[in-house]
Amino acid sequence: MANVPGNLKYTREHEWAKQEGDRVRVGITAYAQEQLGDVVFVELPKIGAKVAATKNFGVVESVKAVSDLFAPVSGEVVEVNGELPQKPETVNQDPYGKGWMIVVKPSNQAEWDQLLTAQQYEEFLAQGGH
């Protein structure tokens, strides 16, 4: 079973979201990187870009496939992981740590409550994850 940290929230598209004060850090889950295989390319928005919950904010590519990245919450991008384009393999090595993708300043706090809890995400994975 893939690692699902209890202190994070999740989307059905396999992103994780972490509350950090009034900001939300976003990445993809251990399950997602396992399914993708070796990540070879990551495309992220620029600082200041607006992202919308459930809409795509970037792209992650493995040898096998191209996958859109979906924002867990709406808001403004205030930080971008500038290491990832040069070291996309970080997403595989440390999906919940150094493999983070963006930090969003949320514009709609209610969206946070729509996200899956770790337990709900684990149940979702147990049912096949799609």
């Binding site: 295989g37 070879v40 590519e61 191209v66």
Partner: protein, 289 residues
């Protein structure tokens, strides 16, 4: 006897039914190894093509045959330890019949990775035994099963075409760079006249190697651009782990096919710079005699 050729089945217009390896099993006996996804299509094609040929008989051995490709620099030692013979004597694109792990095996020094190695043909009901013996026998060498994704990067680094991606019923053998397997002087074959005409007139487009000059993955179907105009199409593309580059194969207009030509690939609406390069993208390690 013991010889193998990489070849093509062509349509009369010179486009491609399938690519395959042909084994010379006897004076007038041949084994054709086709793409698994094309077995039914190829069977229908070859039987139809030879319907009026006296004494031409076919047997579809697919169901009864397993094939394991053992590839890499340690393949010779591993297969050698398990075989009843000195496999180091089997040259590139040659085969012998023998046993491997006591399983009757056609031992073929071939593969589609650009590495040294063997393709082992065994009876379907003993293929699992052979598989297990290889994995066990190669454990100390770090042997590992690989999937099609990994295999795809290896063949792409060699610019080996993959049927359905780089070659198909819309591409002819010459534009695909496979003129060396459809030589008109070798005798009659389906598609010979059409290909002679293409050869005389020159190809309109060529399958070339592209290296992305910045990080970007070009994929099947993406447009190739020159000065914002479409000049071709990507047929395969990936990050290439051995070469540590982002590479692709594409058909481009013949005038733009020479190494060094600066082009671009349209990826999600953005033109990403690319350069035509010499291929293979990574040096072949096959054991040529």
């Amino acid at each position: 006897m013991g010889q193998i050729h990489y070849s093509l089945l062509c349509y009369p217009n010179g486009t491609i039914v399938d690519d395959l390896t042909v084994y010379r099993m006897g004076d007038a006996r041949y084994l054709l190894t086709v793409n698994a996804g094309n077995i039914n299509k190829d069977w229908a094609w070859v039987t139809e093509q030879t319907r009026d040929v006296k004494d031409a008989r076919w047997r579809n051995a697919s169901e009864g045959t397993g094939l394991i490709a053992v590839q890499g620099p340690k393949a010779e030692a591993l297969v050698g330890r398990l075989a009843d013979r000195d496999v180091s004597r089997i040259g590139y694109y040659r085969f012998e019949r023998g046993t491997v792990a006591e399983v009757p095996t056609l031992i073929s020094r071939t593969g589609y990775t650009g590495e040294d190695g063997f393709e082992l043909y065994a009876p379907a009901d003993q293929t699992e035994k052979l598989w297990t013996a290889l994995l066990t026998g190669g454990r100390g060498d770090g042997i590992a099963p690989i999937g099609l994704g990994a295999r795809d990067t290896l063949r792409l680094e060699m610019k080996y075409p993959l049927y359905g991606n780089d070659i198909d019923e819309t591409t002819n053998a010459l534009e695909a760079g496979l003129g060396w397997v459809v030589k008109p002087a070798k005798g009659d074959f389906t598609g010979r006249e059409a290909l002679a005409k293409v050869r005389a007139e020159g190809v309109q487009r060529k399958l070339i190697g592209l290296e992305m000059t910045e990080r970007a993955v070009a994929r099947h179907g993406y447009p190739v651009l020159k000065d914002s105009g479409a000049v071709g199409t990507v047929t395969s593309g990936s990050y290439a782990p051995s070469a540590d580059k982002y590479i692709a194969m594409a058909y481009v207009e013949t005038a733009l096919a020479s190494a060094g030509t600066e082009l671009a690939v349209e990826i999600r609406g953005q033109a990403k710079p690319a350069r035509v390069v010499k291929t293979p993208f990574y040096p072949s390690r096959v054991k040529k005699a």
